[in-house]
Amino acid sequence: MSRARRASTRAPLWLLLPAAVVLGGLFLYPMYQLGLLSVLDFTQAQVSGGQPTRFVGAENYTRLLGDSRFWEVLLSTVLFAAACVLATLAVGAGLAVLLTRVSRIPRLLLSLAAMAAWAVPAVSGSTTWMFLFDTDLGFVNQLLGIEGFNWMYDRYTAFGLVGAVVVWASFPFVMVTLYAGIEAVPKSVLEAAALDGAGAWRSFWQIMVPILRPVLAIVVIQSVIWDFKVFTQIYIMTRGGGLAGQNLTLNVYAYQQAFASSEYGRGAAIGVVMTLILLAVTLVYLRALRRSGEQL
């Protein structure tokens, strides 16, 4: 713990200053304003019409919480995000383990393929998948012989397709990170376990998983954060929320409330609620980690 010796120096301040300025100005201040907007009646008339802003207290929140539409959107957001996280983790982890067991060439191919999928910008990825699954011109429909089938018509096939794109774009991060983590586990530990007569399954759960826990923690947290905030794919593929808004998620909803309906106050309230939910999920997870003895 040689680091502790330097506790008294003043250095961190100037090292942290640039970050503090940028984040303070462009993150904390807007967040404060977001909170502020959420308790105001702030619509187009206030922004450019010269009307005074009005403090409305919790009205935006009470109206939001009393709106059945909000609860529907919230529920689908949570379920969609959870499904994406689970699928991403399952695919990513499965392939990471697979990577440790295959020959060099297939391993190289798979990592290159994953890298490529990772590199594709969300906008391009969404448009490409839309074309692949296009009602009439899509290769998939023609392959399956279901020309004329509209994937975006049914709520669940639409969510499923968007989810597939999300998983496709985000499993590489999980795979690469976990693979790097697994490779970092000393071979001797595993060999020792094998000598003790532990089966593959037991050695996985009892040795690999505990060692990998910090890696898993990062991967899980990042996946939750990213998948909960999916915007581009939903916005582009379902054209802003799907048929009768059936594929709306919270942040698309917030964006629409704010910019299409000019209810800036209500849009801000949705944003605050979303942040709180993510915060709660992550804090619960961090706590569980800490209880199991991990350091942040």
């Binding site: 907007l37 187009q44 008339a45 206030q46 922004v47 403090f55 009602t135 299409a260």
Partner: protein
């Protein structure tokens, strides 16, 4: 109690004091702004934009020839996201364009937002301004202020394929009920074809059904409105236009369906003529007014149309006025009619068009039978931008809600938006 009130008031004060600054509608450049430089113009993107673009290019060439050292930067903005673009421009005076095309339904919202300049003086000084039809002028006036120059009128009527109906021995429908039966007959005989192209997002295709039954937007949950919607949504079904294909269609997509020959009928506007003539349906269609409930009657159409306006925050209002009056002149209104089928708003131009082209007759008849309009209220913009009516239709068309449920929900949202 008093203390608490005072505290709340103080809190409110401090909060409003540091809320994002609002920009009071600042008067634009009073001297007319620079006479040189780049003039920013926003026009609507459309299905098959090329003919419109060609006419605009011609006007730009004429304009830049007469105004040295100017360029005109024309952007075609997507209709379905126009609301965000316009609001962005209202919210940031520095980035506002100069001349804009906007739908007449958007007028109250934009007027309330304080985004458009008063064009009273511009039109007063414009020799052709006196030729503007009074009702067209009224559609660009909000609470006594003229905020636009009506550029063209748009009404919708029933396009039908003469060859298809003749082959099946069908006559163009004379009532709305007949429209449905004719559509089904076509689909039954030609399973690859849709009878009449309708869409869940096609509000102005659906509204005539509501109006013909005696309903209206402001009473969307009344029995007559529901009857109209029931008739319209019944068309989004396997026996005419299957929900899988049609539930999320916009008006533009129905144009494409009719133009490409996939639909035997379509409720299209006079301004869609160019798009239809660019497709397979060219030369094989005719137009009649959309019929009402009884034979011989006409379903009230939506009195659509677009205005040209100048942004209050325009950097070059004087140049903008010159360009606007050029684009709105008789010459270019006539050109736009030839290119797109847009009905002119200047009396001499429209008289010329009616005289030379029988195509406009059904549209003029429709206007003559009486048109309707959306609520003249700033809240309409919100109803439109948050897609209240399309959501309602889509819910019914996809079986997620009954007509009663969907209309009750929509009525609540409409009431909310319209109450000041």
């Amino acid at each position: 109690m008093r203390l608490r009130l005072a505290a709340a008031a103080a809190l409110a004060l401090t909060i409003t004091a540091c809320a994002p600054s609002t920009s009071a509608p600042a008067p634009g450049a009073t001297d007319g702004g620079p006479r040189t430089g780049a003039l920013k113009v926003w026009l609507f993107d459309e299905p098959n934009r090329a003919p419109k673009e060609a006419v605009v290019k011609e006007a730009v060439t004429e304009f830049t020839a007469a105004h040295p050292d100017t360029t005109v930067d024309v952007q075609y903005i997507a209709v379905d996201t126009r609301s965000e673009r316009f609001k962005g421009a209202f919210n940031d005076p520095a980035s506002a364009p100069d001349v804009v095309e906007y739908g007449n339904t958007d007028l109250p919202e934009y007027a309330t937002a304080g985004g458009l300049a008063d064009l009273g003086a511009v039109v007063g000084n414009w020799p052709e301004g006196a030729d503007l039809a009074a009702d067209a002028k009224a559609s660009a006036t909000y609470r006594g202020t003229l905020l636009g120059v009506p550029w063209y009128l748009g009404v919708r009527a029933l396009y039908y394929r003469t060859d298809v109906l003749a082959e099946l021995g069908l006559k163009p429908p004379a009532t709305l009920a007949e429209l449905t039966s004719t559509a089904r007959a076509v689909r039954a005989a030609k399973p690859d074809m849709f009878g009449v192209a309708v869409g869940g997002k096609y509000t102005f295709g659906a509204l005539p059904f509501v109006w013909a039954n005696g309903g209206d937007i402001t009473s969307i949950d009344s029995a007559p409105s529901r009857a109209g919607l029931t008739a319209y949504t019944a068309l989004i079904a396997e026996d005419n236009c299957p929900p899988q294909n049609c539930a999320d269609l916009t008006g533009g997509k129905t144009v494409e369906l009719f133009a490409s020959g996939k639909a035997a009928m379509g409720i299209l506007g006079n301004f869609n003529r160019a798009a239809v003539d660019a497709g397979a349906a060219k030369g094989r269609y005719a137009v009649v007014p959309l019929p009402g409930l009884t034979a011989g009657s006409i379903a009230p159409a939506f009195a659509g149309g677009n205005n040209l306006g100048i942004m209050k925050n325009a950097q070059r209002p004087a140049l903008a006025a010159d360009f606007l009056t050029l684009l709105a002149s008789r010459k270019y209104q006539a050109r736009m009619y030839d290119a797109m089928g847009n009905l002119p708003t200047l009396k001499p131009a429209s008289a010329e068009v009616v005289a030379k082209d029988p195509f406009v007759k059904p549209f003029v008849d429709t206007i003559g039978a009486g048109t309707r309009f959306v609520p003249l209220d700033p809240g309409w913009g919100k109803i439109d931008a948050s897609a209240v009516l399309p959501t309602m239709i889509e819910k019914v068309a996809t079986g997620k809600a009954t007509v009663d449920e969907a209309t009750t929900e929509a009525a609540k949202l409409i009431d909310e938006a319209l109450t000041p």
